[in-house]
């Protein structure tokens, strides 16, 4: 299920609208993930405050979204482009890859809320494919 040229165009133009609100979107997606899928909290036992919109959640939402932005810029070769991030997730963070799907879903929910008119079915499928491809690239170094 690789990205078509049309998918990439759709993603890049939609991302131009997303980028200015990236921090807010990342924070909201992460907040939702921690509430709706409580098992994901196990990765953040070192945070003082896991409530929606808290300082550590905000900071980390920003970090995650800058990773997604990097992926957009390297959309033509995600595997190689995200190699360092893959090593980070594989050897240090060791996030179970099933969680990438969970975060992706919550990102899509937030995008639907923030862009009720722009997040059409075509944009939805392109973004879903993109986030799946990013997840795959992030899992590259796992084993």
């Amino acid at each position: 299920m690789s990205l078509t040229a049309k998918n990439k165009d759709t993603i890049k133009s939609f991302w131009a609208k997303v980028a200015p609100r990236a921090e807010e979107i990342g924070t909201d997606a992460l907040s939702r993930m921690l509430v709706v899928y409580p098992q994901t909290k196990t990765y953040f036992s070192h945070w003082k405050d896991l409530s929606p919109g808290s300082a550590p959640v905000r900071k980390h939402g920003k970090t995650v979204m800058s990773g997604v932005a990097e992926a957009v810029s390297k959309i033509d070769d995600l595997t190689n482009g995200l190699l360092t991030l893959s090593e980070l997730h594989a050897f240090q963070l060791r996030v179970d890859p099933a969680n990438f799907k969970i975060l992706s879903h919550n990102l899509l929910v937030v995008l639907a809320i923030q862009f009720p008119d722009d997040f059409t079915p075509e944009v939805h499928v392109a973004m879903d494919k993109f986030l799946s491809a990013v997840a795959l690239a992030l899992s590259e170094k796992y084993r």
Binding site: L34, V35, P52, A112, P116, F119, T120, E122
Partner: protein
């Protein structure tokens, strides 16, 4: 028990094997008597007041035609393999065709109204969906994984409608509700 299992000195392995065998015997013993009781107790889904109120609220304000149509359209566009169940729906060649297809619109409404049973019987969703489960398994032959795909699309459409009202807690309640429905719909598959 944990302490001794790590000590692999002389006799340590033998002791560990003994504990393992004993553990297996205990497990076998309890499974035959304890299992039935456990499954009875875990039948009931517990709903908080907030969850009940949230589900009733969302569905009382639901625009079934619009939301049903949009959710099914999204499912067919985002997960095109789900089109396999709609071979007789005519033109599903692209997103525009799917969106404009009256059969898709009508069926979206039917599916969404199917959720009404669960909304009205939140304390007995499993029994409520027994017949529908048999239908989806024996007659429609729908892969249960597709229920989750449609549920995800429905969540996204409802999120877009409610906007900031679709808070993380509301999302959790809604997704829990859909998960219970999916579990009930999958129950009669064999």
């Amino acid at each position: 028990m944990r302490r001794s299992s790590n000590q692999m000195g002389p006799g340590g392995v033998g002791l560990w094997v003994f504990k393992l065998q004993t553990g297996i015997l205990i497990l076998q013993g309890s499974s035959s008597s304890g299992h039935a009781e456990t499954s009875k107790v875990s039948n009931m889904v517990e709903w908080t007041e907030f969850e009940r109120a949230t589900i009733q609220d969302i569905f009382s304000k639901m625009d079934y035609e619009s939301v049903g149509h949009n959710a099914l359209t999204r499912c067919l566009v985002v997960y095109p393999w789900t089109q396999r169940y709609f071979g007789n729906f005519g033109n599903l060649y692209n997103a525009a065709a799917i969106m404009g297809n009256p059969l898709v619109a009508a069926h979206g409404t039917v599916v969404l109204h199917g959720l009404d049973k669960a909304v009205k019987n939140m304390d007995n969703i499993k029994a409520t969906y027994a017949e529908l489960s048999v239908l989806h398994s024996e007659k429609l032959h729908v892969d249960p994984d597709n229920f989750r795909l449609l549920a995800d699309c429905l969540t996204i459409v409802v999120a877009a409608r409610l906007g900031s009202g679709f808070t993380p807690d509301v999302q959790a309640a809604f997704q829990k509700f859909l998960a219970v429905v999916i579990s009930a719909l999958t129950k009669q598959y064999h």
